[in-house]
Structures are given as C-alpha cells and as structure tokens.
Subunit: 475 residues, 2 copies
Amino acid sequence: MVATPGGFLYEHLADELVHAIDRGSLRAGDRLPSVRRLAQERSVSVSTVLEAYLQLENAGLIEVRPKSGHFVRRRAAPAPASEPRVPRPVVKPSRVTVSDAYTRVLAAMRDPSLVPLGCATVDAAYLPIAQINRIITQVTREMVTVGARYEAAPGLLTLRRQIARRAVESGMTLAEDDLCTTIGATEGLSLALLAVARPGDVIAVESPAYFGVLQTIEGLNLRAIEIPANPRTGLDVSAFEETIRQQRVAAVVVTPTISNPLGAIMPDEERERLVRIAKRADIPIIEDDVYGELVFDGTRPRPLRAYDDEIVVHVSSVSKTLAPGYRVGWIAGGRWHDQIVRKKYSHSLACPALLGMAVAEFLASGGYDRHLRRLRGVLAGNVERYREGILEEFPDGTRVSSPRGGFVLWVELPPGGDALALHEAALRRGIVVAPGPLFSARQRFGNYIRISAGTPWDERIAASIRTLGRLAAKE
Amino acid sequence: MVATPGGFLYEHLADELVHAIDRGSLRAGDRLPSVRRLAQERSVSVSTVLEAYLQLENAGLIEVRPKSGHFVRRRAAPAPASEPRVPRPVVKPSRVTVSDAYTRVLAAMRDPSLVPLGCATVDAAYLPIAQINRIITQVTREMVTVGARYEAAPGLLTLRRQIARRAVESGMTLAEDDLCTTIGATEGLSLALLAVARPGDVIAVESPAYFGVLQTIEGLNLRAIEIPANPRTGLDVSAFEETIRQQRVAAVVVTPTISNPLGAIMPDEERERLVRIAKRADIPIIEDDVYGELVFDGTRPRPLRAYDDEIVVHVSSVSKTLAPGYRVGWIAGGRWHDQIVRKKYSHSLACPALLGMAVAEFLASGGYDRHLRRLRGVLAGNVERYREGILEEFPDGTRVSSPRGGFVLWVELPPGGDALALHEAALRRGIVVAPGPLFSARQRFGNYIRISAGTPWDERIAASIRTLGRLAAKE
C-alpha cells in the first residue's frame, strides 16, 4: 500500500533544502554538498538525496553543472553576497520580546541549517538511537497490534517498572504504581503544576530558571517568584525560606542536580534542609531531574524525592540521555499521584506505547549504564573545550560557568553586554544562542547567554564561537 | 546491546496473565490457552508465550499437567467458582462517582481480559497497523537519527502538509501553516480550551457529550453548560442561541459529524447557522472531527471550519481510523493558532517525530481512502449487528440509537434502569460499558449506556450482550 518507498524521506530532505535556500543559508551560486556526502551526513541513501535534488531542480531552485555538481540558481534579484538573507525585516533588540526569542530558540531545533548552540539537546551522534530503533523494529514485528493499544495513564507497566528499578538504585523508594508516563518531562511539569496549583497561584523558581518552566507557569495562568541560585550550589534555601515567610507560595520548582542554565548541584545538606522547610510549610516541591544521570564523575546525588515521598513530585525523561524525539518521560506524583493521573487523561490521555516499549527494553538490556558512562565522558570533554573556546574568543571580562555535569554553559558578558542584541546578531549569521532574559520571569540576565555544548566540537563550532566573540565585543 | 531479544515481550505477556489471574478472569483450575493459540491470538512468537508461561510457572501461579496443558494453580483460599474474584470490595452503585467510572473505563483499555464495549476504539484487526509499522521500520533504517529530532510545535511539516491536503478535499481551506500537531485529539481539545478560555469560564457542550471533553473542562478549572442534542441532528442550535443570550459563554465544543455518544450529523443549514450565530457573538467554536471520516455512506459533510476560518478551531486525529496508540493528532487553531502553538510548547513541547513521519507517509501513499472505504463498510455492519443483538437481548422498552457513522451505540434503558449499577454489575462479569452519567457534567442520563461496536461480532460479544441484557432486566 506504500506507493513510493522512501518517498517521504526525500520530500523531507527537499523541504529542508528549500528552507535553507529561502532563509539564505544556501545562496545563489552556492554549490550543494555532493550527493554522497549529504547522504552520509544525513544518514539517508544516495537515491534519497538524488530524488531530493531532482525535485529542487524541477522546481527551478537548483541546477546541475556538468562535472561540477549541483548549484543554487541565481534568481532575478540576487541577494547581497556578503550577508545571508533573512525572510523578515530585522527586528531591533528593543522590540524583541522574550517570547519571540523563545519561539526562535525552539524553531532552531527544527532548522538544521542553524548552528545549534541555543537548544539543550545532545547531538544524535552521542545517542544510542540506532539500538533503540532496532528494538522498535523488533517490537513492531513481534507485537503487530502495538499501534492499536491505548496505554492510558498511568501508562505502560513495563516502562514504569524499569524506571522504578533505576530510581531505587539512585536512592528513591519508588514502585511502578508511584509513576505515570508523560510526553517528555515538559508534560510532567505541566501536570505537576496543574495538580498542585490553582490559577493565580505563585510558584517559586530558581533564578535563573529553565525557560520551559517559566513558559509553563505563564501558560497555566500562574505567577512566578524568583529565588536566587548559586552557580555551584543551586537554589538559595535561606532565600526560599525567607520568601515563603513573606508570601503564600503554592509550589517550588527546582532542578537540584545540574540545574539549567547554571549547572549547579545542591549539596546533600541543602537538599535535606529544603525538603524539611517545604514539608513544614506544606509546600510541594516539583523536582526536575532530567540531568540527574549526567554528573560527570558519576556521583549522582540522592534526588529530593529520596528525602520525602509525600511532598516531592519527581519529574524526568530520557530526552537528555537517549532519544529527545521519542518524548518518553515520567512523573512520580507523591501525594498528588491520583490527581496527576486524572490530569494526564484530559491532558493527552495516553503516551505512544511503541516508543515506551522500546525505551523500557533498552533500559532492561543493561546497556544504559554503559552508554551513560561514555556520554558523561564525552560531554565533560565538550564542556571543557567549549569553555576554553569562549574564554579565548569572547571579550575580556566575560565569565563562564564551570558545571560539574550536563552540557550547557552560562556565559556572563562584560558589563553593558546585550544578550538580546547578541542573540539577534548571531541569528542573522545562522547561529542560535539562548539569551539570558529567557531564563527569568522578569527578564533579568540581560548580559548573559546560555551556550549548549551538546554538539561535537569541530571547525564549524569553532568558527561560530569566534563569530559570537566578535559580536559580543561589538554589542 | 540488547541482551534478551524479545525479553520485553514475554514479560509484557506474563504481566497481562498475572493481572488476569489477580482479577479473577482466569481462576484456579482454569486451563490457559494453548501456546500455539495464544501466540496466534496475540501475534507473538511461540517462544514468547513459552517464556511467559515459564515465568508464571516459576512464580507458582500456574502448573503444567502432562498431556493436558497449563492450568492456573489452586491457592490456599480458593475463590468461589461461580463468580470472578475482584481485588477490592464491590462498591455499591450509590457510592460510585462518575470519575471512578471514568477511570475504570480507561483502565479497561489496558486490560485485555475485559470485553471492551466501553471504549470508543476500533479493534486492531480493522486497522492497517502492519503497514504503518513497515513504514516505521523503513524510516528508522533510512533516517537513523530520527529519534534525536525535536519536532517542536507546530510540528512535522510533512505531516501537516498531508493533513492540509486531505482537509482541502473535505472543503476546508487549510494550509500547512494553519496546523499544529498534537498528542491525539485529546491534547488538541486541551490546547484549544487553554487558548480561548480563562479559568472559571463557561464552555457550552452537547448533551450528552463525549466524557473526555467534560474531563478536560474540569481539569482546566472551567465550567460546562449543557446544550440539548438530538440523536439525528446533533446540537440544538436554537437552544445554543438562547443560552448565549442568557449568559456569557467562552466557547462551544461540538462534534458536528458523528457526535459521541449520539452518532448525530448536523445538517448543513444548522452548521451554517451555528457558525453565523457564534461569529456574531464572537464565541469560538471548537470542532471535534475525529469521526469525520467514518460516515457510513462516505458523504462527509463540510466541517464547521469550512464555514469560517477565524472562530472555528478544528481538532482531529487518526486515533479512530488508523492507529490509536500512536497518538497522532492535530489542531487548526484559526484566530488562536499562534497562542495554541505557544501553549503546545509548555504543554508537551513536541510530538514524537517518528510516528508522525509514518502516518504522513501512509497518508501520502494513497492507501488511506481505500482503507477508509473498507472500514466504513465493516463498522456499518458491526453497528447493525450489535444493534440487533441489543434489541433482542435487552428488556422491552430499551431504545437504541441508529447512527449513520462511527461505531458507538447510545442505549436508553427502560424507565428506572440504573446505568451505574449496570456498569458495576457488568464489570464484575468482565464486561466494560460506559454508563450514561459519564456523558454529562450534571450526571444526567442515569438510564443510558454507551456500547462500542468497534470489536468484531463473535460468540464472546454475543454472550456479553446477552449478559448485559439479563443484568439490565434486573437492575
């Protein structure tokens, strides 16, 4: 019934190329990559690339020059050669809202022509996706009706069992019945906030905080209050204590192990103290643990959930370590477990069974820990290399975080540096960084940017860091 | 790296069997299906079944009797043979809340030992899942990094393009840029309500309404007002007009083509009138079109979105027609498109790229219309057969809807019939039906049940309908 095997893939590739031409990252006269090279780079067959090129040729966008290869055709009004074209007029920094920047950082995830220093994702080359895909093939062969299964909340039992098994190893007392599967950790955060807070409530967050958390708070008509966080030790527990003395706080969202963007790790005694204070005040803690497995030296601290299984709602996923695109996450809702399961029904009903099964099987296979050891080593190297690059290329007075895990760097520009302007200028050169104000509900951190070191260091990255440094000196 | 190929599958099967024993649908002394038969039924290999049986044997739950097969072992305190055991004390009808019934109907989706007359899903045998799975295998082979791709909102371009193409055929002027992909239609409904309404707002719904809509309204701290609906012509537009004259309504959620549970189709002139009235009052219409492709005679009416592309938010999925478990849905947000895309970020960020790609490829292949023609024919036959069965076996005075599409029947019990009691009694016999009060925010329809005809008619179904009829006569 599938008329054109692979038809979809060449169409997909053609789309990306059209997009690259549209936005000017491929310009008139530019030579396209050789068929063989692109096939290799994109892990598709040569015939898929040929089909895509043929489609673009038919559309008049590219031309073949004998013995030379494929070239982007000149158009009626050629763009100036010195600068990539942009589809829309350049927006002045002052007019850039944080939400615009947010949308762009996310859009960059889908645009392969941009240098991805803005998104906290790990390059596909570091992930065992091929193995998971083999399991997917195996599952679809063995269990042909898998696509018909609604794995309604709390979701796939075997996945919950594997997650519980690993959780116990990290010091939590979690059983499969304490868990509900989610569409990535994002849905987990959303469900947790829906369950513990009412519209208008105030949620305490780290400052700086992961921008997704701030967006979710805004999206659910909640309000955020920022608690200072230290680049080494994370959330300032004393400041939190002071805040809840002064005002009603419905919950606190915290990433105790490798916070984002700081890369901080809360010391054990601060964890214990935070849980004690929150428990006494009966304030739910929503713990985001997506980076928990990525502490470089492998010494995973005990999650907050290990200190209390009532008021700590634990949220995590495999998006930072296995397969971002498969959206496999989970939540241990503590006292709110039943409400969270109910919210999940109305939020999205069920998670795709097939992808959950594949991840469960991978976790069961024992290969995960081996993979994590390797990944941690690679990321530690990346973070060091990126860090050196930034310190070399950025203007004097630039400060860079020194995280003990994960793969993002928090960069403080010299006084007067304008992160939003830098973000815009970089984007015009095909480079995405995440500007500091994204990480604050009050748009603070105007002279900070977050740079992701999830992509292998190479000449393109080196050049991008140089460009960023040059731009930072100007802005 | 995968240590035990297929290991996951036998574990999964073993779980299901343990569950069946726990809840008493397999009782002490019962003979288990032969290895070959179960392998065939569940589309797994013989060795997978053998592994599962071995695991249960090791756990002391079943035993092998030479030349006879596998049997459930007697336990210390055997349950009475006449009735299946239930893990918890039986809840009296009066104590059953609608949310409990809702949870059970959903749980039944995951329990293969129950007769699935409660869930509006189509049996796997009717769906082209094998073909989609072949595409999945092909995509994972050709595009090995697919698992790493975040297809952040608005989601996969090629999928949106295929959906737009089909939409245009049904009379809507939709382009790929008008669409955002979602986790099934459930997430679409949730995003639509988040975008158009504020907490506390009143949402107009059909009465009876699909229970998922009511749960979502409750989950988002909104309120529902019920507008009467006719089993043939759907939403009473005059009643809607009267309602909005009397009070502020933030939106109306309606399923104009094959409503659920009624199976009604709104006539064209009523569609036009509803859109005109809503537009004049500036009230968004959220159109649930998941059954749109399942009108038996193939005459798909023009969706409401075809009448207006500003105030109509159109929500749909392939869950009723292709692969419920892959959670591929979409939303055309009209005037609220940008807000909906933003809400999607914080709701779940992205949909799994792989499953969207497979569905897009299937839609592009041209096989979908052929499949739909066959499916409509099969479901029309099912609905007729179930309807006859109900009219034969249920007590005199029972009334059954006569839908022109879809696969659910709305059954009115004779006066005094108690749907919640019937639901409970049926569940004790391993049969799930959806009780009427689920379909009303005010728990009306106390003497109605919804029966799904999505499973092939066979002896087990016939016996279940007989059992239901007998119970209905008693309750």
